[in-house]
Symmetry: C2
Subunit: 253 residues, 2 copies
């Protein structure tokens, strides 16, 4: 399984992905699910992927192959992030056309998702979700994020914290908490976490590779857990529970 999430905020973007891949519980590996394309003062693009790894790697490979041919439309000469999302969707369609039938014969799911975002010169930052069928949608101002893979465990904290005007620093912390919640509840999402911060119009990507023994992540995880428990303990008891005449209904506050 996979967990990837990307945010588009007023001041920049944050992308994060786990790196655990499994084909059955006895076959667990670590693969990068993040690719970036970067040219100073011109473009900064990040792609996150979830789903069948052979299909996502193949589609990205196709995209990179195209990019070496300057005669055709490619990720280095695309005029907009919309065009980049379109290119990626087309690569995915080609690969699924070619490979999908063989996977179907083996009863293997060939569906994948991509998140692709970033900035190209003379355009604002943009963020897209590419579906398994190669079609795609753009993020909205109201819900300025996309998640793919094992998305649900880590969604409540993002729903609560992230708005378009959330500072990048808070966004980074929110994503780490979201990963912490996901990894506690689902063993198939795991370290290391790849994280990229992008400050609007900087055309520079700042990478972090967060491993299992990362002291900052451990600190966030512990303080979040302790903080939640403390908030939880401070919640008032319901009147109706106090009325229940049973010595067993004890509370911790």
């Amino acid at each position: 399984m996979t967990y990837c999430v990307a945010l588009k905020l007023t001041t920049g973007m944050v992308f994060a992905s786990d790196s655990r891949t499994n084909a059955g519980l006895d076959q667990i590996s670590s693969f990068k699910k993040m690719r970036s394309f970067y040219e100073p003062n011109n473009r900064a693009i990040v792609i996150l992927s979830s789903g069948n790894l052979s299909i996502t790697q193949n589609a990205i490979n196709q995209l990179e192959h195209q990019s070496r041919n300057s005669d055709c439309d490619n990720i280095w000469n695309a005029k907009s992030m919309f065009d980049v999302a379109h290119l990626l969707g087309e690569c995915l369609r080609e690969v699924r056309d070619r490979e999908g039938i063989f996977l179907t014969q083996g009863n293997i799911d060939s569906s994948v998702n991509f998140i692709v975002g970033g900035q190209i010169k003379d355009e604002p930052m943009r963020l897209f979700l590419v579906y398994a069928e190669g079609n795609f949608i753009e993020v909205s101002e109201e819900n300025p994020f996309f998640q793919i893979g094992e998305t649900k465990y880590g969604k409540p904290i993002i729903d609560r914290v992230i708005k378009s005007d959330t500072p990048l620093c808070d966004a980074v912390k929110c994503l780490l908490v979201s990963f912490d919640s996901t990894m506690r509840s689902n063993l198939s999402v795991g370290f290391p976490i790849d994280l990229v911060c992008y400050s609007a119009s900087s055309f520079r990507l700042d990478f972090q590779h967060i491993t299992q023994d990362d002291p900052y992540f451990a600190q966030i995880s512990r303080r979040w857990c302790d903080g939640l428990r403390s908030v939880f303990t401070s919640l008032p008891n319901p009147d109706w529970l106090n009325r229940v005449e049973s010595s067993n209904f004890q509370s911790s506050n």
Copy 2:
């Protein structure tokens, strides 16, 4: 969609279910997903259900029908909760045998899940999860809860808080927070919430019906949200983000 959860703790049990049912977004109704069977000083049993409503109602109806015939094994003369789970599984199998084929013809999923728990005299409290196929498992000491339906959004807080020795009062609060997180992230889970507390060996069920304008739930929801934001704000910034030389990387702490 549905969200149901039940806990078996040292001092008692808590059961909770939402009551929203939908067949397409334009057809949303409220149905009870909780049934209880109670005889003073003898037995207290609660059943929660998720999945195809016609199948769950039919299976429960079958169980109730049996219970009027004292010559056959039924929920009133069952000697153990294991037997009750078995009876429920058998009712489910009968109903799916009878109805499933017609639903399959209409491409309708007939799968359902039940949680069934409680206590029968001379036995400790027990809690079971009944699968769509009618087989079932019992809860463990390490993970003393079952969830069915839209389970993931509300699982992290349960994972963090609930242990076998959690007081019932805290367990109730935890479940309300879990419902709050689920309802924020998925509109198809909704009020009212039916909640039952059972204190060990009391053979008495305490019901609460929590509606959308319940002042206690609103208070829990608001204080939890404020508390989370406050914990979040107090989390330390990463060193590496402070090193990033960009005025856009502002933090709220």
